[in-house]
């Protein structure tokens, strides 16, 4: 296949789900089986993306295939200069891997949902929403410019809103969907401002062009500070979508949506879009921006991990775990462990989707019971679900021979290397601490749900293993959590084909990068036009990923790996110690550290704080504005109305008295004059003759 054909295939993958959405949304009211269209289309899209990924990775491993066209060309506008908007598709290694993940999980969720959502009254509409979501997500993955990124970004937000609020009869679900939408909007404002700054500076939305301009030293407003601000503004979009601190509050609430949706959107793909965005714009982020990003990532990794320790809702635990893991990726990007952040994004997508679908399977089996205190002993009843859930839990906890071990280990090595090079040990400490907590709460979940004796006998008796259509996606995803898909070496992910061959190193164009990135300067930037279709854009750049950092990561690898094994082991051990062998009573421990426990159990009071400050503040401001509106603005309006009325009354009087009087007077005068002159009009010819003669005589007399 030629590169153009690959692009055409990518466009086909992009628009197939939209086709499915359109078909189902229109046919769904009439045809009961309309969802089958969507399911078959998504299977087709998945096969196409497998084909695309294989073709791309085998035949064009080092080429970024770009195809673009001009969408809007306003020419040389008088005030703003030349304005031209290009739309385009980029097929590079990142996008084909990402599209594989998106279509795979989307397909599995479609299949899972066929059973899970069976009997829902809006069954077809559900599949249509899944279709529009897959379309938007595909758009984010393939876009080569900020404009399309933003459009699809918002579309993803919309489909997330629709799916969270799918059971909108439930108040909590409709509230959660609104919350997700509004919180996301806060981040999107930042992203939009960032895009506007970029467009105002470079007159283009295309990533490559912007990076090339920055590499040439063309900065927004000519200052590095503004480049940092721009990067952070765009990152704000990622904060919203990837549920990073302080905008993470929407994700746990989003669990009100159907569980397969949580797996697809709120675990594997949409929340990963934020990380994907940072990966895409990684080149333009300066050292200061990366530092802030790493800090936000660290906070987002730490706080939700502590919250997840005490939650009792199976989906809430997984939701906080998702935020925590996303924070991990963001932190990894911040410290420069670019490859492993993306690697973790992929591995996490698989095992977290598996965990969510597994929890869906449990919830389905338990007839919509989500509280793990009412579960227990499900191992015997749900063997397939248990096996896959355990496999994914091992992966997320970072147990060797799993994919999660490789990627998490890489991130920890990255933070370790960062600590060694800069002396900043904070991120490494957070990384290991969170790794321990993750292992603890995930095994707590497994033990409470599947091990031990059933705590709710009635529900336990009715529980049953899910049909094959639900079990198959679980098995497949659990299978993808094994190391050998990514690397032949089970203890070092960096050597495998995934990290070293498939993920191309990004070009680092921002002038202000970490010191250890800087040692290899860009020798020259080729003037070659990257806009030219299927340009080998990679070949035009000098790769700036420094040897020092790679070297440091290499050295950090083994200590980090050993330490991560130890902390994961400690976490798992304590989990078994407390919940499996019951050597310690969790309630007693909780009572001993009551304030800390309450803090965690109440989710650090984020909702309450936001409620007290932002929500109450907004309400207060609104009522103040309402008061101003009602009293002052309305007062002015009413006052002017009164004045107008008074003026009208006066002018009405003037009209009826003066003007009408004048008119009537004129009429009366005319009548009076008429009364006089009618005497002359006798109708007798002779009178007229007399008058004529008389007048003539007078005229003659006057003319004389």
């Amino acid at each position: 296949m030629t590169d153009i054909q690959l692009v055409q295939l990518a466009i086909a993958i992009l628009f197939l789900p939209l086709l499915g959405f359109t078909a189902v949304i229109f046919a769904g009211m009439k045809i009961k089986k309309a969802y089958l269209i969507e399911v078959s289309i998504i299977i087709l899209a998945f096969l196409a993306s497998v084909f695309l990924m294989v073709q791309k990775l085998v035949y064009f491993p080092d080429v970024n295939i770009v195809k673009e066209f001009t969408w809007v060309n306003l020419g040389n506008t008088p005030l703003l200069g030349p304005i031209q908007w290009d739309l385009g598709i980029i097929v590079d290694n990142l996008s084909v891997i990402m599209i594989f993940v998106v279509t795979l999980i989307s397909m599995l969720v479609h299949l899972f949902s066929i059973v899970y959502m069976h009997g829902d009254k809006r069954y077809n509409r559900y599949f249509a929403y899944l279709g529009i979501f897959t379309f938007s997500m595909t758009g984010i993955v393939f876009t080569h410019n900020m404009l399309m990124m933003y459009i699809f970004w918002e579309l993803v937000g919309l489909s997330s809103y629709l799916l969270i609020g799918f059971w909108f009869e439930k108040k909590s679900a409709s509230d959660a969907s609104k919350k997700a939408f509004i919180v996301n909007r806060i981040g999107d404002i930042g992203m939009f401002s960032g895009i506007l700054i970029l467009f105002a500076t470079y007159k283009t939305f295309t990533f490559e062009t912007i990076f090339n301009e920055i590499a040439k030293g063309h900065l927004p407003f000519g200052s590095e500070l503004w480049l940092t601000i721009t990067g952070l503004l765009i990152f704000a979009g990622a904060i919203g979508k990837s549920a990073q601190f302080p905008l993470h509050v929407w994700l746990p609430d989003a669990m009100e949506g159907p569980t397969p949706v949580s797996a697809l959107i709120h675990a594997a793909t949409m929340v990963a879009a934020g990380v994907y965005l940072v990966v895409r714009i990684f080149a333009l982020l300066s050292a200061d921006a990366l530092m802030i990003i790493a800090t936000i990532g660290a906070i987002s990794a730490f706080i939700p991990a502590t919250i997840a320790l005490t939650q009792n809702d199976i989906k809430k635990v997984l939701a906080y775990s998702t935020v925590s893991q996303l924070g991990y990726m963001i932190m990894a990007l911040g410290v420069g462990a670019f490859h492993f952040a993306f690697f973790h994004l992929i591995t996490h997508a698989f095992f977290k989707a598996c965990l969510f679908l597994g929890s869906g399977s449990v919830i389905h089996a338990m007839h919509h019971e989500q509280d793990i205190r009412n579960m227990g002993g499900l191992k015997k009843k749900l063997p397939v679900t248990y096996a896959t859930f355990l496999m994914s839990t091992l992966a997320i906890s970072g147990v060797p021979l799993t994919s999660g071990f490789l990627s998490k280990d890489g991130i920890l090595a990255g933070t370790w290397a960062f600590a060694g090079l800069t002396g900043n040990y904070l991120f490494a400490a957070v990384g290991f601490l969170v790794a321990a907590m993750t292992a603890f709460y995930m095994f707590r979940l497994v033990i409470l749900a599947f091990h031990g004796e059933p705590r709710n006998k009635e529900k336990y008796d009715h529980a049953h293993e899910s049909p094959w259509l639900m079990a198959m996606p679980l098995v497949l995803l659990a299978g993808l959590s094994v190391f050998f898909w990514y690397t032949p070496n089970p203890i070092d992910g960096g050597k495998g084909w995934f990290v070293s061959k498939w993920i191309n190193e990004p070009t680092l164009v921002a002038p202000n990068k970490y010191e250890f990135f800087k040692e290899k300067e860009v020798s020259q930037i080729s003037e070659a036009n990257v806009v030219e279709h299927s340009a080998k854009s990679n070949a035009n750049h000098e790769v700036m990923f420094s040897e020092t950092y790679t070297e440091a990561m290499h050295h950090a690898h083994y200590p980090a790996m050993i330490l991560s094994l130890i902390v994961a082991g400690i976490g798992i051990f304590f989990s078994f110690f407390i919940y499996q062998w019951k050597k310690a009573d969790p309630e007693k421990i909780a009572n001993k550290i009551k304030p800390l426990y309450n803090l965690s159990y109440n989710k650090w009071y984020f909702d309450e704080i936001y409620d007290a400050t932002f929500v109450k503040g907004t309400l207060l401001l609104s009522s103040a504005l309402a008061w101003i509106d009602a009293k002052i603005i309305d007062g002015i309006v009413d006052g002017s109305a009164d004045v107008t009325r008074a003026i009208s009354r006066f002018s009405g009087k003037f009209d009826s008295v003066v003007v009408d009087g004048l008119v009537n007077f004129m009429a009366y005068l005319s009548g009076f004059i008429g009364l006089i002159f009618r005497r002359f009009q006798t109708g007798k010819v002779q009178t007229y003759v007399v008058l004529v003669v008389f007048s003539l005589v007078i005229i003659l007399f006057l003319l004389k």
Binding site: Q681, G683, K684, V685, V689, V690
Partner: protein
Amino acid sequence: MITIGLTHYLIISSILFSLGLFGIITRKNAIMVLMGVELILNAANINFIAFGKYNNYNHGQLYALFVIVLAAAEAAIALAIVLNIYKNFSTVNVDEIDTLKD
């Protein structure tokens, strides 16, 4: 010895004109009004001829001839009108014919 000059003619014609006008104004009978009109026309004729003669301007007689012809035509039409008036109103008294007022 008084020679007859232009002034005498004009006096005659003035008297004639005044008589005609008097007739038009005062007579009740429409026929008599018409006769007043004829008198006025003839007063004009005397003026034409008199001025023609005393100014050596023979066209005056020509105009007089025109006026006589015109008077004949006028008399014919006017009498026809009077006849029609009589048919409509059953009277030729001009005082009673005042529908012009309405």
